[in-house]
């Protein structure tokens, strides 16, 4: 094979991957040249890992094609990809605990040491030592099981294993997060060596600094689409950040008013709460207020939502809510939260918010069962469910249809209906419009605005900045488990102002 530099050798054309209804990668056209380190960056769920998994044949391609040296490349399995010169270090653990380091390196390829069907272990171990030495690792006993070594060492073993097959394209998928500074240095050295030899590296990471320092070209993904490709000369932290996070505001389906006023009554209040993730967080939610929580996915805002609903324990501080008789009630369990008429819509709709195999009726009723008395009449159940289905205009064949068969938007309507129906007054919504199309989003926003008018107190936790700016009376920005700033509703508020406190 020819290893000239700067030669296009790998291309994707309208590469698309769907998981059921969800589009994870949307028509990506990417070109990789030999002799370059290509960085891939984007938020969680932007499709980075899915793209690399398709290239290395861990996932199948839904649509579009990949070209290797101009000819269609359709790997059957990771072994086939390896035979084409593409190897990958995965995000998760890729070694098998019970096997020795040497066995791990040659797993699936033991044949090369077989003589008349018997594997020559000494030969395998010697070869394994050589492989490790190639990447500068000498203090590992290849006869010991993988489980006796640290995560870092095992990762390096994986690297050695991938390099053994002399890849033309070497994919590193968020491997460095698991490594110490020392381990990272080894990886950086290896990928630079590969580049200098005229190979290509696809480097996926969350760490912007590491990408800027090591990559020649950066590709930015957002919502499964390729939004930007930046050459080294144009690397600029702010530009990259903005193309990563920024979303355009399309049309005006948010609240049209800029009246940020709300009732005086405090409905939900957290005072200096701390736990494993949160550090001294205080927030106050008033009657008729829409409060927003902004931040990157690891900032602790999701955990704050869980803590406020009594799902996550708080080590220090106190959470209180307005009880039935105007009293202050302390929240330390889901039961407390429900007694104070708090509702919670989890961001993981399919795994947490809904019981997918159960019917729409059963799902809608679930949070209201506590109020339906000892014996529940089927007629009342039907009336209750029908009321919510009509109110939210849920599209379904009947109330007995399984929720799992509904579209994303209608599923989300059901999870809204669960809490609207049972007379909750405070609703915590974690990523309420994730994975729903524009049409349903509009309905959701109208609904949220209407709920504010009716006196509901709403906490919106979201990674989508325009949504928060468009809907909230007040936005709290979180970073590293702390609240870093607060913005009141204002026509002039921009994403940039908020992002500054997020990153």
């Amino acid at each position: 094979m020819d290893n000239k530099k700067n030669e296009v050798f790998f291309e994707t054309k309208k590469l698309t991957k769907k998981f059921g209804e969800v589009v994870a990668v949307n028509q990506v056209d990417m070109v990789i040249r030999t002799g370059e380190i290509r960085g891939l960056i984007g938020e969680n769920g932007s499709g980075k890992s899915t793209i690399s998994s398709m290239i290395s044949a861990i996932h199948t391609v839904t649509d579009g094609e990949m070209l290797l040296y101009g000819t269609p490349y359709k790997p059957k399995d990771p072994g086939d990809a390896r035979a084409h010169g593409i190897t990958m270090i995965v995000q998760e653990m890729g070694t098998i605990d019970g096997l020795t380091i040497a066995e791990n390196i040659f797993v699936g390829d033991e044949k090369r040491f077989a003589h008349h069907g018997i594997i020559n272990r000494d030969e395998m171990n010697r070869e394994a030592e050589k492989v490790l030495k190639n990447i500068g690792v000498t203090d590992v006993d290849v006869r010991k099981p993988a489980s006796s070594y640290s995560l870092e060492t095992r990762k390096l073993v994986e690297v050695a294993k991938s390099l053994y097959y002399d890849p033309i394209l070497f994919i590193v998928d968020e491997t460095t997060t698991a490594l110490s500074q020392n381990g990272r240095k080894i990886i950086y050295r290896i990928i630079h060596e590969l580049r200098d030899k005229g190979k290509a590296v696809l480097f996926i990471s969350h760490d912007l600094e590491e990408l800027i320092n090591n990559c020649d070209v950066l590709t930015v993904l957002r919502d499964g689409k390729m939004v930007d490709t930046i050459e080294k000369a144009d690397f600029d932290e702010n530009r990259i950040k903005h193309s990563m996070v920024g979303r355009e505001i399309k049309g005006d389906y948010y609240r049209s008013d800029f009246d940020g006023t709300h009732g005086e009554k405090v409905m939900l209040h957290a005072e200096h709460i701390s736990n494993e993730v949160l550090h001294d967080v205080s927030i106050t939610l008033h009657e008729g207020e829409i409060l927003g929580l902004a931040g990157l996915s690891g900032c602790g805002m999701h955990q704050l939502g869980r803590a406020l609903f009594g799902l996550d324990k708080v080590k220090e501080g106190r959470i209180t809510a307005a009880g039935e008789a105007g009293s202050e009630v302390s929240i330390s369990s889901v039961q407390d939260a429900l007694n104070c008429r708090i509702g919670y819509i989890s961001k993981d709709r399919d795994k947490e918010a809904l019981v997918l195999p159960a019917s729409i009726k059963e799902n809608l009723l679930l949070p209201n069962l506590r109020k339906m008395g000892a014996l529940i009449s089927p007629r009342r159940e039907k009336e209750y469910a029908q009321k919510q289905i009509d109110f939210l205009a849920i599209k379904c064949s009947s109330m007995n249809q399984a929720v799992g068969e509904l579209s994303g938007g209608n599923k989300q309507k059901v999870s809204f209906g669960k809490w609207i129906g049972n007379n909750s007054k405070i609703i915590i919504m974690d990523s309420p419009t994730r994975g729903v199309d524009i049409g349903v989003k509009t309905t959701m926003y109208q609904l949220i605005a209407r709920m504010k008018k009716e006196g509901y107190s709403i906490l919106i936790i979201s990674e989508e900045m325009p949504e928060l700016i468009g809907m909230c009376d007040k936005i709290l920005v979180m970073k590293d488990g702390k609240v870093t700033n607060a913005f009141n509703r204002d026509e002039t508020l921009s994403e940039q102002q908020i992002i500054e406190y997020m990153i």
Binding site: F19, V334, E352, P357, A358
Partner: protein, 320 residues
């Protein structure tokens, strides 16, 4: 197309009543109606009472996602408790109460181990199975391998007069249906079987719901042991053994998915036990050798499992 969706959605119902109807028609023909003679109907009721009561209790376990295999051994231990208490006091209600208390205590032990020590429920029930079976064997060894009931005449009517069995089954079935279909407990139970996280976030207290399920199962096993004892007449070392498997066979014949969840139905226990009993009884009346009965039942069982438990091809999981 519409009929296919209908079949898909009602597959469990179809299996439940379909296999019951099939068995009824089949044996009506094979036995030339003998199976429905007044005499045989009486004996059928007697044969199914133990399994019926236990299966109804077990539906609450299966529905929330627990597979219990201790019911046979616990029922066996309970027959011994009834015998010992009855021999000592001569009072039937007291001895039945003692059996129910014992069964509930053992089931709550399983609940505790599962809920607080985080062990898999099937491991806990395996342990309880050995404990109960071991106790029976040990106490029997102290009594020359068999305990006779001094006051057998007091519980003998339960065997000879089929009305008791019918009443017991009807009462347990009505209570079971009410609890399972018309109360919070039953609804939470099904939701937990499918998605405990969602159920918890919607206000179900997982441990509490499971607590009541275990109590119900214990009560049913305790009560059933009275009929088990009445039918066998004395306590031997194998009393009740294999009941747990019969329960599983019955509820699966009734169209129950042992993984539990929202498609769980209490009717699976009722129809399933009837199907199961008819199957054994009908094969016997038809003159099939006892050895083949197990074999034939095994084949029918696997066919029905194939129809109910076959999972739909699941949608690929979203990565990360």
């Amino acid at each position: 197309m519409k009929s296919i969706t209908f079949i898909k959605r009602n597959r469990n119902n179809l299996v439940c009543y379909g296999s019951l109807a099939l068995v009824i028609v089949l044996f009506a023909i094979i036995t030339k109606g003998q199976i429905f003679s007044a005499y045989n109907l009486k004996s059928l009721a007697g044969q199914m009472v133990v399994l019926m009561i236990i299966s109804i209790g077990m539906i609450f376990m299966f529905a929330h996602g627990t597979v219990d295999i201790a019911s046979g051994a616990v029922a066996g231990l309970c027959t011994m408790i009834i015998t010992l208490v009855l021999n000592a006091t001569g009072n039937v209600p007291v001895s039945v109460l003692a059996a129910i208390v014992t069964a509930v205590a053992l089931y709550l032990f399983m609940w505790f181990v599962t809920a607080y020590l985080g062990l898999m429920s099937i491991i806990a029930s395996l342990a309880v199975m050995f404990i109960a079976r071991g106790l029976v064997t040990y106490i029997l060894s102290l009594n020359d391998g068999r305990i006779n009931i001094i006051h057998y005449d007091m519980i003998q009517p339960l065997k000879s007069n089929v009305a008791y069995a019918l009443i017991a089954m009807a009462v347990v079935a009505v209570i079971g249906i009410l609890l399972f279909n018309y109360t919070r407990l039953g609804k939470y139970c099904k939701a937990i079987g499918d998605n405990p996280i969602s159920a918890e976030q919607s206000g179900a207290r997982l441990k509490l719901v499971k607590f009541w399920c275990y109590v119900i199962a214990g009560c049913c096993v305790g009560l059933a042991s009275l009929f088990l004892l009445a039918r066998s007449g004395n306590v031997g070392k194998n009393i009740g053994s294999g009941t747990e498997m019969d329960v599983m066979v019955a509820v699966i014949l009734g169209g129950m998915n042992l993984n539990g969840g929202t498609k769980s139905r209490i009717g699976a226990a009722i129809a399933g036990v009837i199907t199961n009993t008819l199957l054994s009884n009908g094969l016997t009346i038809a003159g099939v050798n006892q050895t083949y009965i197990t074999l034939v039942k095994g084949i029918i069982f696997i066919v029905i499992i194939g129809m109910t438990l076959r999972q739909n091809k699941s949608v690929a999981e979203m990565p990360r």
